[in-house]
Amino acid sequence: MKNLLAFAIGSLLRRGGKNLFIFFVFTLLVFILASTFLISNALKSQLLSTLDALPPITVERIVAGRQTEIDTSRADSIAEIAGVSRAFPRVWGFYYFPPAGVNFAVVGVDPLLPSYSQTLTTVADIDGERLASGDTMIVGEGVDAILRRHLFDGYLLFVKPDGELKRVDVAGRFKGETVLQSNDLIVMDTGLVREIFGLPEHLATDIVVEVPNPQEVPTVARKIATLYPDSRIVTRRDLAASYHALFDYKSGLFLALFLVGIFTLFVILYDKASGLSGEERREIGILKALGWRTGEILAVKIYESAILALVAYLVAVTASIGYVFGLQAPVLRDLFTGYSALRPPLLLPFEIDGATLALIFFATVPLFVAATLVPAWRAATLEADEVIR
């Protein structure tokens, strides 16, 4: 068997020209598929990693099918539920900025809380003086860029619900590596946010619930639902599942379409492989005359296509890794990240897992080999007598 394998490799190299075209096309297809999956996976894992920072449970109030403000007193009742370590209200929202036609996410924090001030300095470059001197905010890179583009240099005039203006100065910018979360983000004092959105003291946007033991999350969620039937409870797991489902759906759809395309390739491949050149026929005839069995010739032919497919797969995957993580996937990447108006300069983290490689393998190589089975058989069952004449 080893000899036959070596013969198959030699055979491929000898007949390079004919196989080159197929090899190139197949490699290209696998490359596209691999790149798509690598990019998608990288984005997905980035997104999922942001989940870790999210609270286990978020409680919103729903009226007439839409989210509305929630009573801050509910936080106290929720905190009483067994398993809940903390429950506190959050104030945040979206501020529409007409000159650029985009929404900024405005989040209120209580900067006096020690946990916040510490973490804040690790994720943002803060001008300490400015921060202390009144109405200030910390903004993400995307916000900063837009403000400057519209000639707001270092501050923004918010338009309050009553029409009055409120000036808030930029006292810090979020660091580059947080860009996925912070790009369109503005962080400021909770009181300020309330002022800008006109939200009274006893109301909040939603309530965050901390549950240290993840096993208890479903139970707590149920209890909150019983306590406040008009609330919508979003758990971290729900979010993870919805991200999974979204990515899976998109990638699954892409894959299904891709497979239709690859099927066409294989019809072509089948056709091409079926046509043997005169020289190939002679060679098979000679081999048979020399005493090679049909099974052995068949084995060589199948080895040929298996090796071709495997090498193409390896080349394509390697090239794809270089393209996606080395070059950061120019062109292809934009197809994926076009869903937000503010486009953060994402860094695709280097992540490959065996499952993705296996997926790409199974989606391509077996089809290739299958397409060559019947042609290989036809070749191997040729009659040898032409050779003798």
């Binding site: 036959l4 070596a6 020399l290 005493g291 069995r293 050779v387």
Partner: protein
């Protein structure tokens, strides 16, 4: 006392179906060849010599009759076993040499042995040993297509002998050679014969007739045996 025959052809007929109708290549041919005999099959082209050789090599099956080689009914062997029989017990020299042009001389020589479970080194050794016997070992790495006619002939002979077969068949081996190379080939033949092999040569080259070391000449015409000479 019946002598043991190396090759027995018993009432063999072969009919080909072509687009133009049936062609009877062989008709009721009977033949018995003893071990270590050197037999010449002589006759014009179309007389069925090549077909007879291919039947002995189990490359084809007779329409009726049977071919027995070393007490085995090779005409009845299924394809797989016929192939095994061929590569282990037959050495065949083709009219057009039929080397694989893109392989090197060495690779051509050990091709018959490739499917056997033999390691690469042993393959090369066996091949080189035969190639040295015929003074062609120095061309081992050259592509077969680049060899001269005489060199190709020697590679073809080496290939036919690499598996040390008891039986050697040659189909018009000198048809594409000049007189000098033809005489060289005959010299090789004598040498091989002295090694104890049974040899059958199909040819209409007069150089083969009346050779002293030929045991028998069998004349064929239109698919039948028409004469024998010792």
């Amino acid at each position: 006392m019946r002598e043991r025959h190396a090759i027995e052809v018993k009432s063999v007929s072969k009919i080909f179906e072509t687009a133009a109708g049936s062609v009877q290549a062989l008709e009721a041919v009977d033949l018995a060849i003893r071990p270590n005999e050197l037999v010449i099959l002589k006759g014009p082209s179309g007389s069925g010599k090549s077909t007879l050789l291919s039947l002995i090599a189990a490359l084809q099956k007779p329409t009726c009759g049977e071919v027995v080689v070393e007490n085995e009914r090779v005409s009845k062997l299924p394809d797989d076993f016929a192939a095994l029989y061929r590569r282990r017990r037959i050495g065949f020299i083709f009219q057009k040499f039929n080397l694989i042009p893109t392989l090197s001389a060495l690779e051509n020589v050990y091709t018959p042995l490739l499917p056997e479970r033999i390691g690469e080194r042993e393959l090369e050794e066996k091949a080189l040993r035969v190639m040295e016997e015929f003074s062609i070992a120095h061309k081992r790495d050259e592509r077969a297509a680049a060899l001269s006619g005489g060199e190709q002939q020697r590679v073809a002979i080496a290939r036919a002998l690499v598996n040390d077969p008891p039986i050697l068949l040659a189909d018009e081996p000198t048809a594409n050679l000049d007189a000098k190379l033809s005489r060289e080939f005959i010299g090789f033949l004598e040498r091989i014969r002295d090694e104890g092999k049974t040899i059958v040569v199909a040819t209409h080259d007069p150089l083969f007739f009346d050779l002293p070391f030929v045991d028998r000449q069998i004349e064929m015409h239109d698919g039948r045996v028409v004469g024998t000479r010792r």
